[in-house]
């Protein structure tokens, strides 16, 4: 059995409420596409923006308790699964309108950042180093860059297409290599990953 616990992050997250609210605001702003609005905006757009900001500020606060609800009422479920709701709502909000390519990249970075930050506050540090090693972070960055370049390819200018294709190919290669290295470390006999698993065995 592992010796790690995920209790120490709870005090820290309570102190960082403004940070999480700010992150939620950033996701709401990018989700509704405020940077590429046509001005003056519609009343509906402003209403959606305000609603998204208010909702995302609340949903971005990390839930670090046990996923247990006293009753199956919707508001209680929403409190416990608010971070899951946030990532789903964000993806749906982004899907409702077509952003520029750079904005699609920023959206992906924001979502990846939120998922990684949630892992940071909810998983013990030693386990997190094993789950998300630097190689995997590089792979994630490459994946975002590569996929953004790929999706930008059909709509791009002809002169930029070779560059975008090269970026996408390099990113895909980097992501593949990083993933392969990450999985190989866990599979290799005598590696730190398997040693750690053996040491975790408790007396039966």
């Amino acid at each position: 059995m592992s010796q790690e616990t995920a209790g120490s992050a709870e005090q820290g997250s309570a102190l960082n409420r403004p940070f999480w609210a700010g992150y939620g605001v950033a996701m709401a702003v990018m989700g509704v596409g405020l940077p590429f609005w046509t001005w003056p905006p519609d009343f509906t757009d402003v209403f959606v923006l305000l609603a998204a900001v208010g909702t995302f500020m609340l949903l971005a606060q990390p839930y670090l308790g046990r996923p247990v609800v006293a009753s199956m009422r919707l508001h209680r479920l929403a409190v416990v699964h608010r971070n899951t709701l946030l990532v789903g709502l964000f993806a749906v909000l982004v899907a409702t309108h077509q952003p520029p390519v750079w904005a699609a990249g920023v959206d992906a970075v924001l979502l990846a950042g939120f998922l990684l930050l949630m892992d940071l506050v909810s998983i013990p540090a030693a386990t997190l180093r094993r789950l998300v090693p630097p190689v995997l972070v590089i792979g994630l960055a490459a994946l975002i860059a590569g996929s953004t370049a790929l999706v930008a390819l059909p709509a791009s200018d002809a002169s930029y297409r070779p560059i975008l294709a090269a970026v996408a190919a390099a990113a895909a290669l980097a992501a593949g290599v990083a993933t392969a290295f990450g999985r190989a470390e866990a599979r290799r006999v005598g590696s730190r990953g398997t040693d750690h698993q053996k040491q975790d065995r408790s007396p039966r």
Binding site: T84, P124, V151, H196
Partner: protein
């Protein structure tokens, strides 16, 4: 041989649900509606989901052990929970689950409704150590510790629960050295001087010698004066018998004392005072018993010795089990519970009419009685505002009712003393030390 541990069920963790939701919510518009800009959104959660193939144990066992299930109020109970698994797991998250109880915090809104309070919860290796403070006497459920075990990828979770069982917290006896004695003692050797001739050391008088008197008891100066043999007579030494009656029919919270931070109620004060009296009597090699008046009448016949104090505490435990209570009629006290001539202390807030009837019954049986009123504070309006004339009228009626109860007890010849549980019990009983407590003639 330990019973086989059943396999536990694993379910998706919140991390898995987060990643899966993000991936699905991005992929569905991309595939169905051709929203190509959602593909980068789905790439990261898909990679995080597939980067690690998590493994988890098939069987996990959590064994709780509480070495000391008896303690005194105000002490800390330590429980250990040992986790054992047949394979590696990722990490654990543990949480203390207090027992679900009714609210009991009129004077302290921040206090937990449970009788125990969590002090610390630590994980060292595969052992979880829980320290729980038991602030007040009673029989308390300790609650449980929930342990969430995650797999090595953090994508699946299994929940275990280790029940910690119960603990018995004995009341800390109130400091008391005063032992009241009845006018008539039972025929048992002891340390108190009875007002009857006997073999003690307290001198009473001289009398003429009769055949069979010991020669060493001849009082030679008196013999010289009266010109016939005179002998000294001494008081007999007898053991007292006492019975403490605890009224648990009403239990009112009292404001906490400034120097004593333990929770206080009329029942707390009564039980601590009863324990103090029992300790004082047992120290003087007397016999003491206990009767508890709650939904049902329980008693322990008088006894002596150090072990008897724990027997008394054990009897009192049944008065408070997780703040639950029993209702019911107060029947007549059984005769064999109260030895003839035993001195009876009644700890009561004098709020229930049934107790006044019980005191009248005891006085009619001829027992010497002392009533210790443990209600130290008058009730106040529950509304936060300034008391109005109706509140004042209600308070006046309440005072008149209390005066009427005391008048009835005075007419019965029963002394009533006040004790708030803060001052020593000796001070409250001091006025009764001037002479032995007498019962009514039958």
């Amino acid at each position: 041989m330990a019973p086989p541990v059943p396999p536990i069920s694993w379910r998706p963790s919140q991390r898995a649900m987060r990643l899966l939701t993000a991936a699905v919510c991005a992929l569905v518009p991309a595939i169905v509606f051709g929203a190509w800009w959602c593909v980068p959104l789905a790439a990261v959660p898909l990679l995080l989901l597939t980067a690690h193939g998590g493994s988890h144990p098939a069987r996990i066992r959590a064994e709780a052990d509480v070495p000391d299930r008896r303690c005194f109020e105000g002490e800390t109970v330590t429980a250990t929970i040992r986790l054992a698994a047949d394979a590696a797991a990722g990490w654990t998250r543990q949480e203390y689950l207090p027992p679900r109880l009714r609210d009991f915090h009129e004077f302290d809104p921040t206090a937990t409704p449970s009788g125990v309070r969590l002090e610390s919860l630590e994980l060292t290796g595969a052992v979880i150590t829980v320290r729980l403070l038991v602030p007040r006497w009673g029989r308390w459920s300790l609650g449980a510790v929930a342990v969430d075990v995650y797999d090595t990828a953090g994508l699946r979770v299994a929940a275990l629960q280790a029940d910690l069982g119960e603990v018995e917290a004995f009341p800390v006896p109130a400091p008391d050295d005063t032992v009241l004695v009845p006018q008539r003692f039972p025929d048992r050797f002891g340390e108190h001087s009875a007002r009857t001739p006997g073999e003690g050391v307290e001198f009473i008088a001289v009398r003429p010698y009769v055949f069979g008197d010991r020669q060493r008891r001849i009082n030679w100066p008196a013999t010289t004066r009266r010109r016939e043999l005179q002998v000294n007579t001494f008081e007999a030494e007898r053991a007292a018998e006492a019975v403490v009656v605890i009224d648990a029919l009403s239990d009112l919270p009292q404001p906490p004392a400034t120097e004593d931070l333990r929770p206080r109620s009329t029942l707390d004060i009564a039980v601590r005072g009863a324990a103090g009296l029992a300790q004082a009597y047992l120290k003087a090699h007397d016999r003491i018993g206990v009767v508890t008046l709650s939904g049902r009448v329980q008693w322990l016949t008088p006894g002596s010795g150090n072990a008897h104090l724990y027997r008394i505490a054990q009897t009192v435990m049944d008065l408070r089990k997780d703040f639950t209570y029993e209702t019911g009629g107060l029947n007549r006290l059984p005769t064999r519970v109260l030895p003839r001539g035993a001195l009876i202390y009644v700890f009561s807030p004098l709020l229930d009419p049934g107790v006044v009837e019980a005191i009248r019954d005891l006085a009619d049986r001829g027992h010497p009685l002392v009533v210790i009123d443990v209600l130290a504070h008058e009730p106040h309006p529950t509304t936060a505002g300034k008391p109005d004339h109706l509140d004042m009228l209600a308070l006046r009626l309440w005072r008149l009712d209390r005066q009427a109860v005391r008048f009835v007890l005075g007419e019965l010849g029963v002394p009533v003393v006040n004790w708030d549980g803060v001052a020593p019990l000796d001070l409250a009983l001091a006025p009764l030390l001037q002479m032995p407590v007498a019962g009514r003639a039958r």
